[in-house]
Structure formats: C-alpha cells, structure tokens
C-alpha cells in the first residue's frame, strides 16, 4: 500500500507542480496585476478606466468586430470547400495539402505578403496590366483582414470538413429521393449535422483573431488595434503592466464567452 502511494506520488508531483506553477499561478498573477496599481494597492481603477475611457472600450469592440469579419469570411469560403472536399476521390491527399501550409512558420507567411502586396509587388503588377493602376495595398484594414483570413482559413476548413465527412451519404440521398430541394437538404441536414465542426472552426478562428498582434504591426501598419496588440503595447512599449493585465483579463473573458456560445450541446455520441 505504501509502495502504491509512493508510485502515485512519482507520477503526480511533476504534473501537479506544472499545473500549479504554469497554469494556476500565472492566471492568479494576471488577476493580481489587473487589480493593483503602480503602488501595489488593491483597486478597481484599471477596470473602471477600461470601461469609462474613450480609448479602451471602442478598441475592444473594434477588435471583436474585426474578429467577427475574419471569422465570417473564413466560414463563407470554407463551408462550400469542405463540402466539395468531402466528395472528392483522393481526399486524404487534398487534406494533407491543406494542412501543409499550417506547418510553415506564421511569420514567414506573413512576410510573404509584404512582398506580394507591396507597391511594385505581384498583385499591383497584375492590377496594372489589367488596367486598374497601382494601389497602396499594404498597411490598411483590408490587408489586415485579407492576411488574417489567409492564415486562419485551414483552421476553419479542417473541423468543418471532418464533421461533414462523418455525415452518412445515404441520408443525403434519401433526402434527394424524397424530393427535397438542394437548399432544403443543405439547411435541414448538412448544416445541423455539421454544426459541431462549424463551432470548433469558429473557436479556432475567432479567439486567435482577437489576439493577433504581429499582423497589426507588420501588415495593418498599426491602423488596426486588436486586444492582442493593445496588450503588447502596454507590456512592451508603455510598460503599464497593470492596464496590460486588465486587457488580458478582458481577452480571457472574451474567450470564455466564445467558448460558452460555441460549446457542444445536445446528446453525446
């Protein structure tokens, strides 16, 4: 029996100490920082400032707004693609081809767009030859959304594909045989049956979109402010860790709300 307890402790100690030091303590520290001021006194001033100042709340709404746009666009592109993919012959190969770009460093992919979208870059050359003239494509809201959609697309596509792939094709055939219009089959069968994949896709795109901060500097030209870039600003540039932690807590709350609304409901498989 004693041996049993010793053995259990051997397995428990490294894991539990990891949980304590790197999961529980950091969250505690963030909360502590957000509830104190520079003198170390407890105060709600940071949260009060977040809500009342003309800077923070609009910035937060802006960030949520951009994340919503990015999530919506990736969904609109991904859903039909996932459906077509699930009907293809060499599905595994196509899937590998979609996963492969996600293995390439995000910074490198972002860097590619600095060249693609630059004044004399490929896209502008194309626009010029088509007779549209050259434009400033970099450092604005559109380029930010465009590159974010590019980076996040596979993370929306894969879960939706997985859930559509699990749908029994006989159900879809039955629906067609019984005279349902394609739009009805889509609305009443494919969408409800793939809802869990859609929800995980939304989680995988919406939450990172709130926190992207290297994109706002490299591609957005600091014209877009996300919760993530606000946190970076407070921790690295202005060194106001208390306000930075407050924004981090807001980001965690936003994540929790997103997770709540996209949780899997209904009967378990």
């Amino acid at each position: 029996m004693k041996n049993n307890i010793r053995a259990k402790a051997f397995f428990a100690i490294p894991y539990i100490s990891w949980l304590a030091v790197f999961v529980i303590v950091p969250i505690g520290l963030l909360i502590y920082q957000s509830l104190t001021n520079a003198q170390g006194h407890f105060t709600l001033a940071n949260f009060h400032e977040f809500i009342t100042s003309s800077v923070y709340l609009p910035m937060a709404f802006n960030s949520v707004f951009y994340a919503l746009i990015i999530t919506t666009i990736t969904f609109i592109i991904s859903f039909p693609a996932a459906y077509v993919l699930s009907r293809l012959k060499h599905r595994q190969l196509w899937l590998m081809l979609i996963i492969l770009p996600t293995w390439i460093n995000v910074l490198l992919k972002t860097y590619a767009f600095l060249g693609l979208l630059s004044k004399s870059g490929l896209i502008n050359q194309l626009l010029l030859t088509l007779g549209f003239g050259t434009h400033n494509l970099l450092f604005n809201h559109v380029s930010f959304i465009f590159v974010a959609v590019y980076l996040e697309l596979p993370f929306m596509l894969l879960p939706i594909y997985n859930s559509i792939n699990e749908i029994d094709t006989d159900i879809l055939k039955a629906s067609r045989d019984l005279g349902a219009k394609p739009i009805n089959t889509l609305r009443q069968l494919v969408l409800p049956l793939s809802i869990n994949g859609i929800k995980s896709g939304i989680q995988a795109v919406f939450i990172p979109s709130l926190s992207l901060f290297m994109l706002t500097t490299l591609i957005g030209g600091n014209k877009v402010m996300t919760l993530g870039s606000a946190i970076e600003l407070h921790f690295i540039v202005t060194q106001n860790w208390h306000m930075g932690s407050t924004i981090a807590i807001i980001l965690i709350l936003a994540m929790a709300v997103t997770m709540y609304f996209t949780r899997e409901r209904g009967k378990q498989k």
Binding site: W103, S120, S211, I231, F235
Partner: protein, 264 residues
C-alpha cells in the same frame, strides 16, 4: 456534372491561393535582385549570404535546439501526467484536472506570454534561453497529454491484469506493456510539440531577453525594417524542413497504424 466541375475548380482555386505566398517566397529566394518584385535573374547569392550570416545561423540552430529539447521534456512530463490522470476513477476529479489541462491549450498565446513574463519577473528569473525553454515546455505539456491520455484510456486492461497475476511488478508492467503500447501516441505528441515550438511567436516574444532570439522573433524584427531576400532563402529551407517533417510524420503514423492493425 457542371456542378461538379464548378465545385472542383473552387477547391482548386483555394489550393492555389493557399500556396501562392509560399511559392512566391521560395521563387524570390533565387532572384539576384534585392526586393520581392521584378526579376533580375537567377542566382544563389541569397543562399550564400544566408550561410555567411553567422548570427542568423546561430538563431536557426538555437530554434531547433529549443524545439527538440522542449518537446522531449514535455513528452516526458506529459506522459507522466497522462499516467497520473489515467489512475483516476472518479469522473469528477478527472474533469477538474482535464479542464485545468486545457487552459493553456485554449488561452490566446498573448495572455500566456504576458502571464509567464510576470511570473519570471516576480521570481527574479532572468530572461533568455532558459526562460524560453521553460515556457515552451509549459505550453507543450498539455498537447502531449491530449495525445497520450485517450490512448491510455483505450488500452486493454487484461494484459496488465495478466502480467500482475504472473508476478510482474509495477516497473516491469510500465516498461514492458504500457509504454510500448502508448509509444506511437507519445511520438505523435512529441512531433506536435516540436511544430508548436518551431511555430511559436507570441509566447517567445514576451519571455525572450535581449541576448536570445528564435527564428520567429528574428523574422518579426527584420520584417519591420523591410524586405531582405535572405529571409526568402531561409523560408525556402524552412519549407523543405516542414515538408520533410510532414513526410516523416505521415510515414510514421501510417506505419504504426499498419503495425497496429497487423498485430490485432
């Protein structure tokens, strides 16, 4: 039929769009000019520059050392954690631990980065290779656990019971039965942790000091100063490495799947 062609060309278009930036990067690494536009002719000059840039090469080496060591240690602690969680029979306790485990998986990387930064600062820990290593281990452990725990749960207990009946002690059961059985999932967790570490930017950005840099952080600071085709050469090499890793992972999983099916 027409619909099918439409659908297929749609997927093809997405594929092309996904790969254009990558192909573009790789193609311009062979440009003899200095910017990512126009074409001045084919040359290996940026690769020569890359191999002469000792600072960048050191960062590349550091990035790989960091990834391999953090993934190894995370695979070890993650497996131990999975064995610990597997010993729970009370579902409620297990749920508490699983949700704590998932905190770092779902948290935005920025918040992980800043909370670790606060932690290191309060502990008076100096920022550098070790702080980055510890952070990478910390965010990789739940990934390993996520891969290993389901495999442990699926495991057939009769083998263990039989071994115990035959007088095997805990250590023997662990090393002769349990570890070989879950080995593929430990490897999968290791590889996943490796890619997470190689790809991480946000966490590293906050916990790295002045003296230490990883590839992502270096590209970030260089890209802010403008385009340099040396980075293109580097990304071409990185792309080749990713391809190799994917291939290794693919071959490994299909091989172990096949083996599992054969032994069953």
């Amino acid at each position: 039929m027409q619909k099918k062609i439409l659908g297929n060309s749609y997927v093809l278009l997405i594929m092309v769009l996904l790969y254009i930036p990558i192909i573009f990067l790789v193609a311009y690494s062979f440009n003899s000019g200095t910017i990512m536009s126009g074409w001045s002719g084919f040359s290996f000059i940026h690769y020569q520059q890359l191999f002469a840039d000792t600072r960048l090469l050191k960062i590349l080496l550091d990035t790989f050392i960091l990834a391999i060591s953090s993934a190894t240690i995370a695979a070890f602690i993650g497996t131990i954690g999975a064995l610990f969680l597997d010993s729970f029979h009370n579902k409620k306790n297990l749920n508490v631990f699983s949700s704590l485990n998932n905190v770092l998986l779902v948290s935005p990387d920025v918040t992980i980065g800043v909370s670790f930064l606060i932690l290191f600062t309060i502990l008076g820990f100096s920022l550098g290779f070790v702080s980055v290593l510890i952070s990478h281990i910390a965010f990789s452990i739940p990934i390993v656990l996520l891969m290993v725990l389901p495999r442990l749960r699926e495991m057939d207990n009769t083998l263990i019971i039989a071994a115990r009946d035959l007088g095997a002690n805990r250590g023997t059961i662990l090393s002769q039965i349990v570890i070989p059985e879950i080995w593929p999932s430990i490897m999968a967790g290791f590889l996943l942790a490796l890619t997470y570490s190689l790809d991480d930017f946000a966490v590293t950005f906050f916990v790295t000091g002045n003296g230490f840099s990883t590839l992502s952080v270096e590209i970030y600071s260089r890209a802010r100063q403008g385009v340099s085709l040396e980075i293109n050469a580097l990304s071409a090499l990185m792309f080749a490495v990713s391809l190799l890793l994917v291939l290794a992972y693919y071959l490994y999983t299909t091989y172990s799947d096949k083996k599992a099916r054969l032994t069953k």
